[in-house]
């Protein structure tokens, strides 16, 4: 199969999968089998392109011209490859986890759930492989819309409210800021193609450039830059597998992916570095990192704490990209993969606790590690990755970010990263401490339970192992990041 065809197939696999999932809505076992098969096929398709991308090739596909000179095109470069790998790879594990979670919790509308999930992955791949800002925007909006039914899955008043915030903020920011930014880019540059070195050099200067950067950065609401971050905690009303794959991996990583992509391929690092007016992004991202961590520190609901931790961690990527130093950009790219693995582990663990013990708050977790050693062990590894301690992948990305910030002598950024590391430790370590070192409180909510169903434990152990593995073998993401910077 030629690389061009392979791109088309990669995009088609989850869509066709969705059709079959819907067709088998009366046979749950078959439906789940199709989901898993689709996930595996998708991952295979993505990984089949990896050797070529690592070899420096950038396969492309021109789908159709929507407007004269404006086409839906796809081009697989290093950053997109990494995002696609992370999203499709974790979808396999997440599917296994979902089977266990959805069945044990007796969730309704499971067919709709799996269909939307497959479509969300299709949209994510579309974002990852997008060859121009227009295509990126199309799939970005699509991702918002297909994840809306997942966020509001339970159909309750609370879900409806969460859905409103989710849709209002994501659709609102993208329509009000991102769309004008894309159209403006098209108007001044005559193209929206992603090109190494950017397409805006010499077209926009000074204040206009700073404004355009603001339109892009706040327009990409999925990156959850404050003050447009509230959709992420609101999305936590969704079933945990949704929070795990979409609101720790696919959707939010699509956000920071777009941020990095726009900075590197639309603006160009050199253009931004030459314009002092665009430096505002560093303090905004830094503020988001610290403020979100402070909120997380005070959150008792476990999923809420994880959500604010995600807001904070996403801004690491934005901050690292905004520093424009080569090493910090490598850190940004690395962190997309590292945070994905760590955070999905944490969400998996939260869902497992809910399924096995029906507990949602941190304050209820005393001594739970004795009953759920695998789950809480995985949680501990995920927490280490968030804090940025070895032997977890988060250490590698943080190392690069710090090195980049020091290299560029951006001492405020260094201070922010260090302060936030302490905050991260402040809200993750107590959870681990409670789980393993405090005696369980005998109460009326307490009932005998062990680990969650096997599929769920399997999935969260695998992602925890992946987090450790990525620490020892970070070669592929690092190679992709380095190639992205050299433009090869």
């Amino acid at each position: 199969m030629s690389p061009t065809t392979l791109i088309a197939v990669t995009l088609a696999v989850p869509i066709i999968g969705a059709v079959f999932i819907a067709a088998f809505h009366r046979q749950p076992n078959l439906r789940e089998a199709v989901t898993l098969l689709t996930a595996v096929l998708l991952f295979t398709c993505v990984i089949a392109l990896l050797p070529q991308v690592l070899g420096g090739a950038q396969p492309a596909l021109h789908l159709l011209d929507v407007l004269p000179g404006l086409a839906l095109t796809f081009r697989v470069e290093q950053l997109g490859m990494l995002f696609a790998l992370v999203a499709s790879g974790l979808w396999i594990l997440n599917s296994l986890y979902s089977f266990g979670y959805m069945r044990s919790n007796g969730e309704s509308h499971q067919t709709r759930f799996y269909v939307c999930f497959a479509l969300a992955l299709a949209a994510s791949i579309g974002i990852a492989y997008a060859g121009n800002a227009f295509t990126l925007f199309v799939f970005y909006e699509l991702l918002t819309l297909v994840t809306y039914p997942l966020v509001t899955h339970h159909g309750t008043k609370e879900a409806q409210r969460g859905g409103r915030i989710y849709l209002g903020l994501l659709l609102g920011t993208s329509m009000v800021f991102l769309l004008p930014a894309v159209i403006f880019t098209w108007k001044v540059a005559g193209t929206t193609d992603f090109q190494p070195g950017g397409i805006l050099d010499g077209q926009v200067t000074g204040l206009a450039l700073a404004g355009l950067l603001a339109l892009y950065m706040f327009g990409i609401g999925k990156a959850a830059l404050m003050p447009f971050h509230r959709w992420l905690p609101a999305a936590m009303v969704a079933p945990t597998p949704v929070s795990a794959l979409l609101h720790a991996v696919a959707v939010v990583k699509a956000g920071v992916f777009c941020v990095v992509k726009v900075i590197v391929y639309v603006f160009g690092i050199d253009l931004l570095a030459a314009n002092a007016g665009t430096a505002w992004l560093v303090p905004v991202a830094g503020f988001t990192i610290l403020a979100a961590s402070v909120v997380a520190l005070r959150a008792d609901n476990l999923k809420r704490r994880l959500a604010y931790s995600t807001v904070s961690q996403l801004s690491y990527v934005v901050l690292a990209a905004a520093l424009l130093a080569p090493l910090s950009l490598i850190g940004a790219v690395m962190h997309i993969a590292a945070h994905a693995l760590g955070k999905i582990t944490l969400f998996f663990a939260a869902g497992a606790i809910y399924t096995a013990a029906h507990k949602t708050n941190v304050s209820q977790l005393d001594g739970i590690g004795r009953r759920m050693p695998w789950t809480m062990g995985a949680f501990a590894i995920g927490a280490l990755s968030m804090i940025g301690l070895p032997p977890a992948a988060g250490f590698v990305s943080k190392w690069y970010m710090l090195a980049g910030a020091m290299e560029a002598s951006r001492w405020t950024a260094v201070a922010v990263i260090i302060a936030s590391t302490l905050l991260n430790a402040g809200y993750f370590l107590p959870v681990v401490y409670r789980a393993f070192f405090r005696a369980p409180v005998a109460g009326d909510h307490d009932h005998p339970h062990g680990e969650a169903p096997l599929l769920m434990v399997l999935a969260l152990t695998a992602t925890a192992a992946g987090t450790v593995l990525l620490f020892f073998l970070p070669d592929v993401p690092l190679a992709l990041a380095r190639q992205m910077l050299t433009g090869g």
């Binding site: 159709l64 407007l67 004269p68 329509m175 009000v176 769309l179 004008p180 159209i183």
Partner: protein, 494 residues
């Protein structure tokens, strides 16, 4: 002479003759057959004219071989053939739907009258579009308006009579203003041929009569196209008319009025000093913006879906008029492309609402709650069209929004860009009122066993839904023609 040379005349004559024929037949089946054949023939003629224009440029047809400016000229350029295809195409889709739809809504002995009026209305709308003669525009306007009043009054709800009466009064005022405007122009120029008129007006500078004519025509046509604040007739008319009529009117009537406005503004007044000196663009801009925001806000508070989407139409007309206020090729492209995009989108919505009314007995939000569960296809179709109203990529509405924003950016008007996108957020609000009611609430107990409407209703509706998606992805047909038409219109003035 071959038939091909007479296509411009046949475009109007065929549906016009089908009307008396269907009265004479008096049988509902025969009437339906005649009018259906007429409508499909009209569509085929419109396509043939489109191809002729593509091949050999503007067609000028002289009725009775009287040469213009003495005789009546039918003039088909790119914009004309675009609107002809739109109007006859929508009629060709709505008619098969109406057979099953009026079966449920009108007494059988009125069916042949419905088809007669439909055919007349179609002939009138096509006539306004194709004619190159100012007085002829008025005549066809009256034909289409009078038949529209009857069609609305046929509505099952007794309030349809009031709505029709309201529209009759407002429409007559509009028509009177238009005929006064045309009369004044005739006095100034001594001609009724639009092209001739445009040329003669250039030599008349700063005349009070021309100014008055422009004012009368602007008000009259704005009434017909329901420009805010002259839109009061529209929500009731759309809400209480039979479903097929709502869909046909929403997709065509206001669009043809916009077409007439474009003709007068750009082909007749365009090059005159009077037009260039007046703040016409600013006036249209303000009214368009007011319409976009006020009507969208009102739409958010409606409890009847037909009224909700009727107010949305007023807001969308705001977009259309906003485009022409830019007075640039990109702006006019946005206007013209949104004529078609909004027509298929709103046509689809009203056809689906008709299907919903047929199954659930009404389209208030209270009655249709939970319809996502019992009528999955119809609900999903409305959601897709709703996304087009918002302007989500992949739908037709997105293309229109893209060009509108581009037109605003070309003039460096960033504040307008934000007005456009903010008003589309209002569309999110009113579309999501439907989504939340349809998908988060349980259906009413007595309506829990309702099923999706039969294919005779759903198939035509889904065709328009599919068109809404198609024109969002492949725009070579719509944008290509719109850009060409916009260049032609502005080329005539510069």
């Amino acid at each position: 002479m071959s038939i091909a040379a007479h296509l411009p005349a046949l475009q109007v004559v065929v549906p016009l003759l089908a009307a008396p024929l269907s009265v004479l037949l008096r049988d509902r089946r025969a009437a339906f057959a005649v009018v259906l054949v007429a409508a499909w023939t009209a569509f085929a003629i419109a396509i043939a004219l489109w191809l002729q224009v593509s091949a050999s440029g503007t067609i000028s047809y002289h009725i009775g071989s009287w040469t213009p400016p003495w005789g009546i000229e039918y003039r088909v350029d790119r914009l004309t053939s675009f609107v002809l295809c739109l109007v006859s195409g929508v009629a060709a889709v709505v008619l098969p739907y109406s057979w099953a739809s009026i079966e449920r809504e009108l007494p059988r002995d009125q069916h042949y009258l419905f088809f007669t009026m439909f055919s007349l209305c179609l002939a009138g709308l096509l006539g306004i579009t194709i004619t190159g003669d100012a007085f002829n525009i008025f005549v066809f306007l009256e034909i289409s308006s009078l038949s529209t009043y009857v069609l609305i009054a046929l509505g099952r709800d007794r309030r349809a009579l009031v709505a029709a009466y309201q529209y009759l009064i407002m429409g007559t005022i509009g028509a009177t203003f238009i005929v006064i405007g045309i009369g004044l122009l005739y006095l100034q120029t001594g001609t009724l041929n639009l092209v001739d008129m445009g040329q003669r007006l250039q030599s008349i500078s700063g005349h009070r009569g021309v100014l008055a004519a422009l004012a009368f025509l602007t008000v009259g046509l704005s009434l017909k196209l329901a420009l805010f604040p002259l839109h009061q007739w529209l929500p009731n008319a759309y809400a209480y008319a039979p479903s097929a009529v709502s869909a046909f009117l929403a997709a065509t009537a206001t669009k043809v009025a916009v077409y007439a406005l474009l003709r007068f503004y750009f082909s007749v007044f365009g090059a005159t000093a009077v037009f260039r000196q007046l703040p016409m663009a600013e006036l249209m801009l303000v009214l368009a913006l007011a319409g976009m925001f006020v009507a969208s806000t009102v739409a958010c508070f409606q409890s009847d879906l037909k009224r909700l989407f009727a107010y949305s139409s007023v807001a969308q007309i705001g977009y259309i008029v906003l485009g022409l206020s830019f007075d640039s090729v990109t702006g006019l492209t946005a206007t013209i492309v949104h004529l078609a995009n909004h027509a298929v989108t709103k046509g689809g919505i009203f056809l689906l609402l008709g299907a919903v009314a047929a199954s659930m007995g009404g389209v208030t939000l209270a009655r249709t709650q939970g319809m996502g569960r019992v009528m999955p296809l119809s609900s999903f179709g409305i959601v897709l069209c709703g996304l087009s109203l918002i302007g989500v990529p992949g739908t037709a509405g997105f293309i229109s929004k893209w060009y509108l924003i581009l037109a605003a950016l070309e003039q460096g008007q960033w504040w307008l860009v934000f007005m456009i996108v903010l008003s589309s957020l209002l569309a999110v609000v009113y579309v999501w009122r439907f989504v939340e009611s349809a998908y988060f609430k349980a259906p009413r107990a007595d309506l829990a066993d309702v099923r999706d409407a039969p294919a005779t209703l759903l198939a035509p509706a889904m065709l328009l839904v599919a068109a809404t998606l198609y024109f969002g992805l492949d725009t070579s047909l719509t944008v290509g023609a719109a850009a060409e038409a916009a260049a032609e219109l502005l080329g005539a003035t510069r």
